[in-house]
Symmetry: C2
Subunit: 548 residues, 2 copies
Amino acid sequence: MSKKVIIVGGVAGGASTAARLRRMDENAEIIMFERGEYISFANCGLPYYIGNIIEKREALLVQTAEGMSKKFNMDIRVLSEVIKIDPSQKKLTIKNLKTNEIYEESYDILVLSPGANPIKPPIPGINEAKNLFTLRNIPDTDAIKSFVDTKKPKSAIVIGGGFIGIEMAENLHHKGIHVTLVEAADQIMGPIDYEMASILHNHIKSKGIDLILGDGVKSFENQGKKLVLQSGKEIETDLIIFSIGVRPENQLAKDAGLKVGERGGIQVNEYLQTSDENIYAIGDAIEVVDFISGKPTMIPLAGPANKQGRIVADNICGKSEKYVGTIGTSVAKVFDMAVASTGNNEKLLKARGVKYEAIHIHPGSHAGYYPGAFPISMKMLFDPETGKIFGAQAVGYDGVEKRIDVIATAIAANLNAMDLKELELSYAPPFSSAKDPVNMFGFVASNIMNGLVSTVQWHEIDNIVKDGGILVDVREAEENELGFIKGSILIPLGELRSRLGELPKDKTIHIYCQVGIRGYNASRILIQNGYTAKNLDGGYKTYQCVFP
Amino acid sequence: MSKKVIIVGGVAGGASTAARLRRMDENAEIIMFERGEYISFANCGLPYYIGNIIEKREALLVQTAEGMSKKFNMDIRVLSEVIKIDPSQKKLTIKNLKTNEIYEESYDILVLSPGANPIKPPIPGINEAKNLFTLRNIPDTDAIKSFVDTKKPKSAIVIGGGFIGIEMAENLHHKGIHVTLVEAADQIMGPIDYEMASILHNHIKSKGIDLILGDGVKSFENQGKKLVLQSGKEIETDLIIFSIGVRPENQLAKDAGLKVGERGGIQVNEYLQTSDENIYAIGDAIEVVDFISGKPTMIPLAGPANKQGRIVADNICGKSEKYVGTIGTSVAKVFDMAVASTGNNEKLLKARGVKYEAIHIHPGSHAGYYPGAFPISMKMLFDPETGKIFGAQAVGYDGVEKRIDVIATAIAANLNAMDLKELELSYAPPFSSAKDPVNMFGFVASNIMNGLVSTVQWHEIDNIVKDGGILVDVREAEENELGFIKGSILIPLGELRSRLGELPKDKTIHIYCQVGIRGYNASRILIQNGYTAKNLDGGYKTYQCVFP
Ligand SMILES: Cc1cc2nc3c(=O)[nH]c(=O)nc-3n(C[C@H](O)[C@H](O)[C@H](O)COP(=O)(O)OP(=O)(O)OC[C@H]3O[C@@H](n4cnc5c(N)ncnc54)[C@H](O)[C@@H]3O)c2cc1C
Ligand SMILES: Cc1cc2nc3c(=O)[nH]c(=O)nc-3n(C[C@H](O)[C@H](O)[C@H](O)COP(=O)(O)OP(=O)(O)OC[C@H]3O[C@@H](n4cnc5c(N)ncnc54)[C@H](O)[C@@H]3O)c2cc1C
Ligand SMILES: CC(C)(COP(=O)(O)OP(=O)(O)OC[C@H]1O[C@@H](n2cnc3c(N)ncnc32)[C@H](O)[C@@H]1OP(=O)(O)O)[C@@H](O)C(=O)NCCC(=O)NCCS
Ligand SMILES: CC(C)(COP(=O)(O)OP(=O)(O)OC[C@H]1O[C@@H](n2cnc3c(N)ncnc32)[C@H](O)[C@@H]1OP(=O)(O)O)[C@@H](O)C(=O)NCCC(=O)NCCS
């Protein structure tokens, strides 16, 4: 007998489930409810449509309700909000938002993919602000675009420096609007660490964005025409985009008695079943297992939502596909740069008390002798004992997400940091180097693991010098002249062997160069000559990201 | 006691060995002999210097003998050819090519990284041709560049459509020279298969290159001013680049009694030791294990040479690092396109009698709704029983080698085709799609493995139709009008369910669409309605690459 499957939410997770389900089972009865007017739209493209980078609104609509119904022979009901689940009766209550009619529908299997909602805390004045928008769906987009196109705002404040905030800042700037970006934390782009985000801070400032870090919103005044910050600072503005994050859409699930995690995500087992075996849940609304730590987490991204939808469809059709957890691989365009990351960052590892080692490298996007190569600043976190890769981050102009994708693949396959040195990645001068940046991570990590070198971090070196530590700059004099770390002495690498006598054997010699390579070579010379040496990881370049 | 290590060959493999060795052992005595005038140069950049894409000759010289000697405290002797190895005495004979002096040098450990030489068979007239060049090193480059810049040739023939041939064709074309590319095989770029190479054939022809396939060189006449082909065709030319491949530089090793494989590569064990345990060999000169098949092969690429050098240095210093084989990941720029591949191709699998399945997909380089997305034509070969990935190929304008690198990583980690569907790759609209092309490979492969669909290949379909087979085009009428496969009938996917009655249940229904997706959806409908169906893999697009 054919089963009746109801899907709540018709976008990334929901539509993916529906499409796969039809292919798996031509006879299933499939009903998809969507509260909004549109299904299957490109959430991720919305900021770019506002910025006119994507020119046609239709381009955002991947499938229409009509087209998808026909192609997949399913019953798609838009403007239809599921307002209640009765798991014991396997019944839903639906409100038709056009007619206000309320009716019921029974199901054999229910799939929840209701997504998440922009967080909008009760900040004084927030509801009175007439120029304040959040961005999640097509109506939000239409509202912002129409405001921008008709009111022609000269200035805008984007509150929140996450993916959507950054994308909105860029797209509003692209429309000629002066943008102030306000972020309560000391950095934008939470998935990466401070020193890596600092590169982006410099970049977006160079583009003319006013960046305010470490200052939260206190209130909105004058119907949103004025923003008051915690610091007391006041900013006048024509437009506000409020994008401080999302909260899982879990009310329906909660009301139905489904288990929900600490941070509000609907809890599911490895088959993506909720605490009720006839109800599956996927996408932004669920709590997933952090692939790295095995701990519950929330990772609201489109790739996982799409893939979970496919898995659920298979499981509904009798398969036992497991969802093994989310690594959290992501990428964003930040003006001319790209930032990508995968796995856990240093902040998280520190907070969890995990023992880790961090390495920073600055390889070229491709061979330096071929035109158009740009350095990529890369960071990897790993377990110095086992080599387990905790995560990686990269910021640069080209080839950024390629390296992160390779590392994400390595993580998924349980390769360790040492294994990266052997990966055979494609090389020709326009694309990479004979030793790809990912291989370099492997080399550098294995040198640390094998005790060939030890490192000191960008945030430690100033204190070391202050406490009387020895710091040697092994770059050339010309490089030193352009900028150096206070308290360092200069001994170019080429002279080191002949000037060893100038250095004491009873103190740790700290070394730095531009990116860490010469410093590493110098460390090897010193260590093998009986010195204790530590190399500044990532060199002057990483240090300089934070202390320009 | 410090050991005396001698390295023969001072470029990719040799210089890498030397640098790592010094870092591992500050006290080792290291002598590096190089026959040429230059060490550590960027072989891979040579064609681009000839084409003026790389403007400065110095850019090709990664390290100079003087700089490297100083930095790494080693004895580097250029213009010094090792002419004999005496393994029993652990002694070398060297000829100083400047003074013609011949002398001996003893070693504790010897490393051979002599590279390979361009193949130059005794074709009639080849030695008399004054305008014929091969390209391997800096003097070759200087000779070609000076010929081009002073003789100002109007026309050139490049013989051989491999990496170097293609790069030279592009770079000579870039200099305004009319180029004819002659390849004896029916396709250029041996590492990929015919239908994939066909895309490149069309591309380079569209750039104005005369492409002659399936015709070999018979003779050179008039001092190289005329080329005569096997077909009898004659072509006048001002310049000839002869690039039909390389042969391992193995004479020294052979004369010393070291074991050499069938195709001439020096044989080594997994620690990269030759048949004499005190002699290591690496790079283009050695036979490696094909990571996919476990069989011996030759893969002359810079990445492996560099990495092998590092492994050998470690092993000389008491480690036991294994070289696990070469996958053969490569990439090349072909005018505006890129071609990349990893692992075994279909030709090889067929020749070896391996049971495989081939899939072709044409995903966008990034989300279609974000500007600048280009389709990538991709092919994967895998074992339909175990899912073992044999290899993958990709041709396109953007994001090509990224996907191949991810698959190369998956291969190295022994992930199978099914695992690709779960890889969590970075997604934002400018970079990829929520389901990355690599995930798509996973989906498509697992559908075949699970028996959800079966496919027919581009080279089979015409015969099927000729033999009376049924072929249905499930695209829209407007697409069909622009080109279709002869003998097909049109039933757009949206009408299929209502027109099932038009199709017989007792014959196999062959289906095609543009890239394979709608055909797959149609297959699912047919199969679940009791039909036997087969989908044209890669759709009209793959078919059309070969039959435009
Ligand atoms: C502006 C923006 C940019 C983004 N950029 C990226 C990016 O670059 N990369 C990336 O990986 N991710 C990005 N994302 C996140 C990505 O879009 C989400 O992770 C993904 O859409 C989640 O899928 P989902 O199915 O869980 O939720 P959604 O796609 O949001 O779908 C949920 C749907 O359920 C409907 N719904 C909710 N409750 C009910 C109910 N009770 N009854 C009926 N319908 C209901 C909602 O109306 C909504 O349409 C972006 C998101 C936004 C908003
Ligand atoms: C034009 C060109 C483009 C290329 N492009 C790419 C590319 O894009 N990607 C890629 O992966 N690979 C590419 N390669 C291949 C790559 O350069 C080689 O795989 C790599 O250099 C091999 O390293 P090797 O150390 O084995 O040999 P080599 O780098 O060639 O070094 C061998 C050296 O040994 C010296 N030698 C030989 N015999 C003796 C002796 N008896 N005494 C003293 N010295 C001796 C030779 O003079 C030579 O300099 C390219 C090669 C060429 C020529
Ligand atoms: C589009 C959407 C409805 C899913 O539909 P879909 O038919 O599953 O997806 P696609 O068109 O990408 O096709 C993928 C299918 O085609 C198959 N396929 C892809 N290329 C193929 C080829 N060349 N040959 C054969 N099959 C192929 C895949 O295997 C997959 O099928 P499967 O899941 O049964 O294995 C859903 O993902 C969606 O609504 N997306 C937009 C919303 C969204 O994701 N937003 C967030 C990101 S902006
Ligand atoms: C350049 C060459 C001499 C090798 O020298 P090298 O010092 O080993 O190579 P690099 O300058 O790339 O540095 C890599 C080393 O720096 C280390 N390193 C890289 N980035 C680092 C960083 N940020 N911090 C610390 N160490 C770093 C790596 O671990 C590696 O050292 P290891 O091998 O001891 O682990 C040799 O590869 C060569 O001659 N290349 C040109 C010829 C050639 O390859 N041709 C073919 C391709 S065109």
